[in-house]
Amino acid sequence: MSPISVPQKKWRFTPEGDACIIIRFTHEGLSTQVSQLCLQAAQSIANAGLPGINDIVPAFNCVGVHYRASCWGKAPFHTLCQTLDLLLAQPYFPPNAAPEQTIDIPVCYDPEYGIDLEPLARTLKCSTEQLIAMHTSRAVRVFMLGFAPGMPYMGLLDTKMDVPRLATPRLAIAAGSVAIANRQTIIYPQASPGGWHIIGRTPIALFNPERAPHTLLTPGDTVRFKAISKETFTYLKNNRHEHPGY
């Protein structure tokens, strides 16, 4: 006998303190489908123009909604949850603007920049060339931006590239460093500490407060990495305006 099918809700709400709600999609782990649900939810909430919403933050499998409790009556969490619940239950209409884009990001995989390239190749029992080929051959999705302005979390990479983060994070990583861990790849937009394996560096800026849009990448975008020489790296670094789109 087959079990009685119960209509299952796709999301639930949890408080993140008294001024933020996290909408959690009941899918496990990390996938393009759940990432899409997050972006659609974020877009629907933004379009609704609800009062007292300070920030809408889509992540891998959840969305943070930062709000002013004083705008939501006597029981703010409860009232906002009800409103969001109704909103999310409505069919989603993709917006006309902001199409998801495919962007090529040039990366110099020279060991001078990709300081973990050789040890990582040894760990994964492949050549550095094979490692670079794995990183460049598959287009990846931008799941979310976080940690630093404009910093993209992208994936998923080949299952062969499923390595944990470094046991001890580095204190200083150069701006533009391209790194991998757990089948994901990131780019550090600014110099910062970090615990991912660094395999190369891009000359492209990811964040500019003076320009609109402020970030090169948007969640939902597709990224392809293109291997470049050191000479091209230097040229692009000095002539950043020539990069299409930014």
Binding site: E16, D55, A59, H66, K74, F77, M144, G146, H214, T215
Partner: protein
């Protein structure tokens, strides 16, 4: 028409309510560590509540006003003087052209942060909708950095010195009643609601979290307060995908020492969250010094939000009562 910086103080940055709407791009919110003091300082000089103010940490700067200005200090009961005249905390004060504003180390260094508001506001460019200084990303405020010696900070509405006497009399007679729950009192007990990963921690960690005080370590600043006390452990190690964080989120890295995320926190984080400090106690936390101890107590979300609404109401009442300040000052511009 500006303020000269004679000495910068330990860490003086301009802050408003923060850089909202860009967390989805990974841009930290920042803003005043003590949002209540930001608002209060502004109301006392007849400003809108979110006008940028100068957040001063531990030791205040030396400032020289080139024109008369109406200022207010809120927060730490700091020993501030205009020449030799003491400047009261939590009151509007008329500082005269050429008078240096300076701070003396008090006998008791009781609180961490003090806020300086100027009527009409500081003339600062907004970056992505906010004048808050983001030190890490070098955005906003005065060139994205803390004050330095010989900086000049323009102010928008200097006052005509011919009104000096009448304004001083007006301020002297002004009765200001500050409700206690605007977060102005010093205390060491911090109320929290349970965090999303509360159930992932061991029973022993739950008990220790509330029973044992934690010390605020010297590695505590605008991004987060690193605490030292009982080590908190998960029932089993778990991998958590990065997810949104909030001002007051208490996360626990693998070493078991909790970190309270403060104003300059990163937008997302991948450590388990044991609890969240309630909004009403964030101003309290912002005033505690490294080395001090705090203890946590549990509160329900509904009660925490009732406190937000209550504080909001008190601020609205205060704002109405103090509306006369802006009205009076509007007759006195240069």
């Amino acid at each position: 028409m500006s303020i000269q910086v004679i000495s910068p103080g330990l860490l003086s940055t301009f802050q408003d309510e923060g850089r909202h709407r860009f967390q989805s791009l990974g841009v930290p919110v920042g803003g005043a560590m003590n949002p209540s003091n930001l608002r209060l300082a502004n109301l006392l000089v007849g400003n809108p509540p979110s006008e940028p103010v100068l957040e001063m940490t531990l030791t205040g700067p030396g400032l020289l006003f080139e024109e008369d200005a109406c200022i207010a200090l809120s927060g730490a009961p700091i020993h501030a003087f205009a020449d030799d005249t003491p400047i009261p905390v939590n009151r509007p004060f008329l500082i005269q052209a050429g008078q240096p504003l300076h701070f003396r180390q008090g006998q008791f260094p009781p609180m961490t942060r003090s806020y300086l508001a100027v009527h009409g506001g500081f003339e600062l460019p907004a970056v992505m909708g906010s004048c808050s200084t983001d030190l890490k990303n070098r955005l906003g405020g005065h060139h994205g950095r803390a004050l330095q010696k010989q900086d000049h900070i323009p102010i928008r509405k200097p006052l005509d010195s011919r009104h000096r006497q009448t304004l001083q009399d007006f301020f002297k007679q002004l009765e200001i009643y500050l409700p206690a729950n605007l977060g102005l009192q010093k205390k060491n007990s911090i109320r929290v609601i349970k965090g999303h990963h509360w159930n992932h921690f061991t029973q022993e960690s739950h008990e220790r979290f509330f029973d044992t005080p934690f010390r605020i370590t010297p590695q505590s600043e605008r991004m987060g307060y690193r605490l030292q006390g009982p080590v908190l452990a998960l029932q089993s190690p778990s991998q958590i995908l990065s997810e949104p964080t909030a001002f007051g989120t208490i996360q626990v890295p693998p070493d078991g020492n909790p970190i309270i995320l403060m104003a300059d926190r990163q937008t997302t984080g991948g450590y388990p969250k044991i609890a969240n400090v309630i909004s009403a106690d964030l101003p309290v936390l912002a005033q505690l010094l490294p080395g001090e101890h705090i203890s946590f107590s549990l509160m329900e979300l509904e009660k925490a939000q009732a406190l937000i609404l209550d504080r909001e109401e008190k601020f609205m009442t205060l704002q109405n009562r103090l509306a006369i300040i802006a009205l009076r000052l509007s007759e006195c511009y240069l």
